[in-house]
Symmetry: C2
Subunit: 148 residues, 2 copies
Amino acid sequence: MAPKLHLQIDDRSGVPVYRQMMDQFIYYVAGGTLRPGDQIPSIRELAAALGVNPTTVVKAYTELERAGFVEKRHGKGAFIAANAQALTTAEQEDALRRAAKQLAVEATQLHMSTPKVIDVVREELGALSNDRATDEAPVKFAVMNGGR
Amino acid sequence: MAPKLHLQIDDRSGVPVYRQMMDQFIYYVAGGTLRPGDQIPSIRELAAALGVNPTTVVKAYTELERAGFVEKRHGKGAFIAANAQALTTAEQEDALRRAAKQLAVEATQLHMSTPKVIDVVREELGALSNDRATDEAPVKFAVMNGGR
DNA sequence: ACGACTGTTTGATGACAGCCACACACACGG
DNA sequence: CCGTGTGTGTGGCTGTCATCAAACAGTCGT
């Protein structure tokens, strides 16, 4: 009913927060972690967990509702829509490819070697799967700060 | 003096255009492709090549100037600042890691297998290096559209 | 009926990007 | 020597949108 989620917001990325949230919910549905009927965190709960304004979560949920992924019920909570369509395999690969391309462009401009890039990707993938094994909180708080 | 650049703007990403341009210039300097004294595309030229408003390029160049990477000269053009400091190795790795983490988070939420992810990254890296061999235009026009 | 959850709405603020008129630098032809 | 043309960057104004803050309204258990 309420699978463990692990939402990650990157303030420095410039991507609107509500959009980052939207994408990640969609990916969770696409990957099957979130299924139709599942209750998702309340607006205030998610806002508090991620340290953003409730209105921002409202925007994300509202857009997700328009897109058919989410149903909000006044006084009750928010849920994955009954007819939420998972992304097609092609769409999922597109999403992955977009992020990969972004990485590739940066790496190329930085003159990074292919093995080096692959290494870092492996590390990050590994870090995430370990995380999931240990994590018990229903919604994981995650904001990237890091310095340039 | 004017190395071939390959700037890539992704409209759908939500990242401010001027910020995407900034990052990529910084990465080019960090990677050594752009060196102090090099002339970079004029505001209008870059704006036309990328299909964005000149004002947006102005913002990118102005911010890069504040950061010490660029010098604008009225009537002459824009240049890489004499004392433009390349990013430290640690900073470069941070930048790479940020993009990798983004990719890892998405992949995990989509339930993608590690080998699959690595494959796609390899493909994208390959696509870029081929590009560079063929490309002759001083500034490559690149805007991502792709549909969701 | 109260209290503690839930979602809803409105207004203010600031960032982003577009349009348009202006000012400086230099090369060319009178 | 001067004017004109074409390149360059500069600056003001406007529309749109993301975010925040605070007040409003429905649901449910006691």
